[in-house]
Amino acid sequence: MDSVLSNKKAICIFVIPTLIVFCVIVFLPIFMSAYYSTLDWDGIGKGTFIGIDNYIKLFSDDVFLKSILNSFLFAFASIFIQLSISLVLALILANGVKGEKLYRTIYFIPVIISTIVIGQLWTKIYNADYGLLNALLKSIGLENLAYDWLGKENTALVCSFIPTLWQYVGYHMLIMYSGAKSISDEIYEAAEIDGSSKINTAFKITIPLLKPILKVCLIFSLIGSLKVFDLIYVLTNGGPLHATEVPSTLMYSSVFNSYQYGYGSAMAVFIIIECLVFTIILDKVFKTE
């Protein structure tokens, strides 16, 4: 048996093609990005080596700093607003209500739909002249509140968060719901015998036991917010006047619109490091507690 399972040739056939694809497409580009980020290069000919100049420029670039701030605000909203809604819904559904399965299925629908569709749909909802939102305001007599939601600097950022929050509530809800469902019934029975109210049980038993799951949700929404691209690209492409700019949209336009290959790569490297650092920090925080 062992000789069959340690067949070297078979192992090579099983592993090597995958490893090659994976290394060339996933790992190699990281090193290439790191290298490009040290170049002054417009993509034509050879770049000039300029060391860490791109990074120095990055941190004195107001637009880039603003884009980081925006992604942090995004993360903040995801964690506090989206995850709270998800948690409330998950706790209610896991407690057993009529139509539990139906609600679970409905809440999850936006998760599976392409961000581009969601983005297009919400640009129509926000449309200044004939969008659903303004039509709604008009129909309840608040037409003076009608607004160019995505076109104006002061509302564009908040309005570009809402569709993502809306889209992923169902996802986090389902993760938390599955976690809550896997908690043993005996614990709940004991709590009930002790006369603990449902809300009390949720705070004292369910939420503490959900900690590992909450950690996953927290990491997902934080990292997801730091890398957000699709939705912003479709809704505003960073505008108006960089009001909704996030690091990835800025990276994209630096590379593919203004051909700053080196500078854009520095942003890409920043995004990788940022995501890694936050994952490690969150992991540590949850371990020590």
Partner: protein, 279 residues
Amino acid sequence: MNNLIKGKMAKFFIQLFLILYAIIQIYPLIWMVLFSLKDNNEIYGGNVAGLPNPPKWENYTNAITQASVLKYFFNSAFVTGVTIIAVIILASMTAYAISRMKWKLSNATMIAFLLGMMVPVHAALLPLFIILKNINLYNTYLSLIIPYTAFGLPMAIILFSSFMKGIPRELEESAAIDGCSIYRIFSVIVIPLIRPAIATVAIFTYLASWNELMFAITFISKDQLKTITVGIMSMVGTYVTEWGPIGAGLVIATLPTVIIYVLLSEQVQKSLVAGAVKG
């Protein structure tokens, strides 16, 4: 008695809240279907939220004939289909070697794939663009299939390995005693046993590649090869003011996903949660 009324009230308000939230989640999509059946006259004439009157089915024929939504649709279907097959084949073989076979570097290989999961696609965008151009794969189906496959591998390998760990050793042992080769054990015994995991991986890969945008807008510029996500983006450019055909395009892009979801909602939900929890 008082408690009973209180309990009923609480139940009523909980149901009300759940229903309202369900409307918030679902209404925008229903509205999308409604506006895909209207023309601009109707929308600009004040019928933004109401039912289309009459429904303009020609929006769909326009989207399909003039805006070549059908072509984009088939491009997406092809790229997604090949990606799913490639991910399943490569990931199941590698997961088998990692989780069941005996070799020194199996742990290290697993760690490499785990690390790979944390790499944001942004990091690979420009280098891949340059690599693909250099090997003349830019503007081909492969320029999407290969990256989608590569980025889909880590999750698939993790899911397959954790599933394979549950297969009893005895099955492989008795097959080996009967003189089965490792390839036969893998293809005839293991593959049929991991069917549920294959479904999970297929769904996961489907959603990721059908919906992908960043690589799709960067690696394909030929209209002939555009996937549905990019196709719709370019439709928006040409039909800036025409809501109907754009709405029809959005509905057509969403339809397969919704059909899969309606048929397999339990499995789809499980797949995405498995991805989160195992990852």
